[in-house]
């Protein structure tokens, strides 16, 4: 309890609190604009955090993540288009409820459910992170290498439709991370004499290119050139708080179960909010007594989706803080930000006295950010709702300039803007051909970690068998192999399943 209070004390310092507040506002805005993702928002605020302390920087990005997870519900309810992929299931009941003349109730339910889901997720975060980090301290180079292998196979099997494509994306990420200097002997690799390439590709321009740039190109292709049509009169938005809280009290089982499902999905590397909200919605349907009402504007549907997608962002932080493995793309950016700030994420983060306050500050700050989101969202609901209708031809150029600026200011060299462009094109092509970007990013981020630990392990003991014989490493490799085997088994069963011929006549 003491470290948590110390972390809370560090987080409640005015500069950190103000940064979180700005992050939450930015997150809500990014979350509510259809086509923009939370990852994009976190990436775009990253350059603004360079001059901040590590805690202040992470607090800003966490604010974006928490605010964004909740902000997606505004467009989901008002125009029937989810602001982020993690609000897809909110449209199922949020939009019908708003169209039935209760937009305020839909928004209120979503916002309050976000708060309670976030709090339940936070309990999981605070309870699960310290023991997992302590367990992580037992890891040597063998275990760390196997953990990377496990994370990449997990993300490959969960993030996309094809495991083969997921693994190719992950391996391609690792391969591109080897360009530049060798992490052990500092020998130049694949730079072809180019001085800029010799220092390797920085994580930030790569991320901006992959997530922000490619997403904008995809949006342009979909010809979302105009603002969505107004489906609801903004003047009609009045939030009936008492009725909403009564609805939530009546759905406490749904709320609790959806939040637990969300937090659990967050803890599993790779499975993010886009999976959590749909799964939480599906689970809520199973435990609810009003199953048939789902999809018609039923309050439990909104509660389940929003509680699920908010608790997932707390769960995502667990593997990041405890093991240094990102739970999703957003935490991958945060991990990169910690590295830029000179903090090495990993199991030592919580035990090292120099960084433990930062780790506990992040845990305590998640709760603060969740509460701030509720306050800001209710306070500025009508203002935020107007932003849904800002035309794309104004937003897209601005975001592209911010992206370029983010890449530029990292090392103050134009080369990084070209790196952004190159990886943007690569990301766009990957999205077009269904190669999961999350696998690529995880590979790019964890590739050097895998190489360093593989070399350390082999220097200590040249026997490759050690990776299998050491219990934790062996179990992780076994889990990686099982996740691949399970994927192929499911594919095999699908092919073997008897086809049902459609009835004729």
């Amino acid at each position: 309890m003491e470290p948590l209070l110390a972390g809370l004390g560090a987080f409640l310092q005015p500069p950190v609190l103000i940064s979180t507040l700005i992050g939450v506002v930015a997150g809500i805005i990014v979350g509510l604009i259809p086509g923009f993702t939370i990852t994009m928002g976190v990436i775009l605020v990253l350059p603004f955090t360079f001059g901040m302390t590590p805690l202040q920087g992470i607090a800003t990005m966490m604010g974006v993540a928490v605010g964004g997870a909740s902000g997606g519900l505004i467009s989901a309810c008002l125009i029937g288009i989810p602001g982020t992929p993690s609000a897809v299931a909110t449209t199922f009941d949020g939009f019908p409820m708003a169209r039935n003349g209760e937009p305020g109730r839909a928004l209120g339910l979503g916002t309050w459910a976000s708060l309670f889901g976030g709090i339940i997720g936070w309990v999981v975060l605070a309870a699960a992170t310290p023991p997992l980090a302590e367990f992580g301290l037992k890891f040597g180079p063998w275990e760390l290498f196997s953990l990377v292998a496990f994370s990449i196979t997990m993300i490959a099997s969960l993030a996309g439709e094809s495991l083969t494509k997921g693994l190719i994306a992950g391996l391609l990420g690792i391969l591109l991370a080897t360009i530049g200097s060798d992490p052990v002997l500092n020998i130049s690799r694949f730079s072809f004499g180019n001085e800029d390439v010799e220092s390797g590709f920085d994580f930030l321009p790569v991320l901006i290119g992959l997530f922000a740039f490619s997403q904008l190109m995809t949006d342009l292709e979909r010809r979302e050139g105009e603002a969505p049509r107004v489906a609801i009169r903004l003047a009609d938005i009045r939030i009936p708080h008492l009725q909403v809280l009564r609805d939530i009290w009546n759905s406490k089982v749904v709320l609790l179960w959806s939040s637990i499902v969300g937090a659990w999905i967050g803890v599993v590397p790779a499975a993010g909010g886009s999976i959590a909200n749909v799964l939480a919605y599906d689970q809520a349907k199973k435990v609810s007594r009003h199953r048939s009402k789902f999809g018609t504007g039923h309050y439990e549907g909104i509660i389940a989706s929003e509680a699920g997608n908010n608790s997932v962002s707390a769960g995502d932080l667990v593997p990041m803080l405890a093991l240094g493995i990102p739970g999703d793309a957003v935490t991958a950016v945060m991990l990169g930000a910690l590295l830029i700030h000179g903090v090495q994420p990993g199991p030592q983060l919580m035990s090292d006295p120099r960084t433990s306050q930062l780790a506990w500050g992040v845990i305590a700050g998640y709760l603060v950010a969740t509460i701030l989101t509720l306050v800001i969202q209710f306070w500025g609901m009508r203002l935020f709702a107007r932003l849904v209708f800002v035309p794309y031809h104004v937003l897209v150029p601005g975001i592209l300039v911010l992206s370029a600026l983010g890449a530029l200011v990292l090392n103050n060299r134009v080369f990084d803007v070209f790196v952004l462009l190159g990886f943007g094109v690569l990301g766009y092509l990957m999205v077009k051909h269904q190669f999961p970007l999350a696998s690529f990013v995880l590979g790019f981020l964890l590739g050097p970690l895998a190489e360093i630990n593989l070399r350390r392990a082999l220097q200590t003991d040249p026997s490759v068998l050690e990776f299998v014989l050491r219990p934790i490493s062996g179990v992780l490799l076994l889990l990686a192999a099982l996740s691949v085997a399970y994927y192929f088994w499911v594919g095999y069963r699908r092919v073997r399943a008897p086809r049902v011929e459609p009835a004729v006549g």
């Binding site: 060798d182 020998i187 292709e221 010809r223």
Partner: protein, 157 residues
């Protein structure tokens, strides 16, 4: 582009990187190490090539795509018109930054992009120009004045 064609391209890339990995310098002080700077990329390339071959065998689509008709090309151009214009515009923006400086380059890029993206009859040029200049000025001032980050100055003049 079909999955199988992508797999074939990736296999070729893997072959090139594998070959290049032997060109990586091996310093004498690291000679005792069995694991040199090229070993890890080589191992990754081999595993990657194996999965690419799996995709080549199991993937969908033809290796040689059919010849597109005039109609196909028209549809393709209509669908990708905006990304196809935006990509070279962004490349030009990045390339010109060192020469004309961040401020002029960004303002020009914002104006050009808005004119490309806005629907016909979407807005007045004066508003677009004023908005772009204001945004550029505010952003530049924020970074240079508040965050003390120096943005590229014109190199041509």
């Amino acid at each position: 582009m079909s999955d199988r064609l992508i797999a074939l391209v990736l296999v070729a890339v893997c072959g090139f990187i594998y070959w290049q990995s032997y060109a990586i310098r091996k310093p004498s002080f690291a000679a005792f190490e069995g694991f040199d700077a090229g070993t890890f990329p080589r191992a990754i390339v081999v595993v990657l090539a194996i999965f690419c071959l799996v995709l080549l065998v199991r993937g969908t689509g033809a290796l040689v795509p059919r010849r597109p008709t005039q109609d196909d090309l028209r549809r393709w151009a209509a669908r990708y018109r905006l990304p196809l214009i935006s990509l070279p515009l962004f490349a030009a923006y990045a390339a010109a930054m060192g020469a004309i400086g961040w401020f002029a380059d960004t303002a020009a890029y914002l104006i050009a992009m808005q004119l490309v993206l806005q629907p016909r009859g979407g807005g007045r040029l004066a508003i677009v120009v004023a908005g772009s200049l204001a945004f550029t000025w505010a952003l530049g001032l924020g970074f240079e004045g508040l965050l003390h980050i120096v943005l590229p100055k014109p190199g041509l003049f």
